[in-house]
Amino acid sequence: MIRDPEILILGAGPAGVGAALALADHGVRALVVDSGFAAGGQVYRPMPDTFAPNGTPGLGPDQEEGARQRRLLADSGVATAFGRLVWSIGTDLRVDALGPDGPEFWRPKGLVVAAGATERVVPFPGWTLPGVMGLAAATILLKSQCMLPGRRVVVAGCGPLLFAVANAVVKGGGQVVALADLAGPGTWLRAMPALLGRPGDLLQGGAWMARLAAKGVPLMFRHTVREARALGAGLKVSLGAVDANGRPMRPARDRTLEADSLVVGHGLIPSTEALRLLGAEMYFDAEAGGWVPRLDDDQRASRAGLYAAGDGTGVRGAVGAFLAGRIAGLTAALDLGRIDAGQHARAAGPLRRRLAQARRFGRAMSRLMAPPSGLYDALDAHTVVCRCEDVTRAEVNQALESGAADVNQLKSWTRCGMGPCQGRMCGDTVAQIVALRTGSRAAAGAWTARVPLRPLNVEALAGDFDYDDIPLPTAAPL
């Protein structure tokens, strides 16, 4: 294990791998740290190495790109530390992690944050039931475990993942009982010009829709999940129409379907805890998925030695993440004096042009994934907003009526966001609800990031350290 990397890269998804490769090109001693067991992040998550794929996997060419990036990373000789839960980052950039061999820390000169994104699921009655899972969760089951999210599945939410997941379920031998898309066909048509920049993906999306229609899957545009209820070991899922803003329409025509499971998601949210913990300057960008760091053109964040790239800086997709990661790596090499400004410009220029194109496509995708604001208005009083602490919309409203002015005040008054997920699941929803009062997400604020960044076992952290190991000074003679 490398003791003191010059640059530590947080996250081994496409952005982290891109940064690692650029740093390796210029002889910078780098270390990639990730909680998973292989590089690829969520988008290129590999199957377990005990699995041998035969034939085309369920979800397109991602597997090949993931394998390519893992090969490049291995060939680069960059050190890796997998299975590490990073729980603290100091202002001196000391990074503390808990791994299979206990606690570890590193003191890099610079940090590339490539933390990726988590999924947004806008609450509805019944969303906490076992059998309801995220679209991204279903993708992981299908892609990396070759497992169906259910035999009979309702797929709902918004964005391209809807069709990717529904298609993979059908291909894997499952049944999609219905696909409820918040968007209407017009939304997809309006996205076409930007999507045409990547004709391969457009064709794939079209093929997915055609296959689903041919299989007789009901494609319900402008529909949302009203409610899920437990029914035996499965679920009863009510779907209903919405207007262009996501507000409920024609409730008398709601349909209730029986299914094993409900797979639902409303886009991705950049993971920014590490950046916020370090006090990086942030701003709110709805189109990018939420709060994102202010970066210069070279991927530098607002403090020396801190760089960021990938979906954790704004959701723009895997292709852009890899390119931005490489630029971040080049910039770190420049700042360490390993290359000069001319070399940096020559290497970063072509990457930047490809990045601009990837971002155009990514922005169109992001727009398709963004939930319409009416979904939050429609959230009823009894619906649980914060899963960890079972805080309902009514309790959130009550705190707001009592004068809670931003998300942090709301958190201390209601415990919303104080549970083990540390606000990762409810944070975006709560901020939207607060913003209905404060007028903007910027005014609603963001949770204060705190150590530990993830829940961890104190036993594992303490290791063999015991009470008796605390050094006690000899008492002074009286």
């Binding site: 794929p53 034939g55 076992p130 079972d390 990762r424």
Partner: protein
Amino acid sequence: MSLRIANQVRRGPAVTLSVDGQAVEAFAGESLAAALWAAGRRALRQSPRAGTPRGVFCMMGACQECLVRVDGQRALACQVAVYADMRVETGAAT
């Protein structure tokens, strides 16, 4: 019909786990969350305040809903790969 898609992959060696004292069949290297899901073990714990059942939700180590005990230690089922004779306890993790 199994939730495991048969024609896309050749899985590793079959292993047996103990889940709350009951034998559950799985494949070495599989995610514990996936193994529990395939075995129909959907409710893994109860929320502490309202006591409602919870299970696999995000599959990426963020939501903390799949917290179980693995060989006595708290662990997220989605972040652990199964091995032979793994001892899993659900329900009482929090």
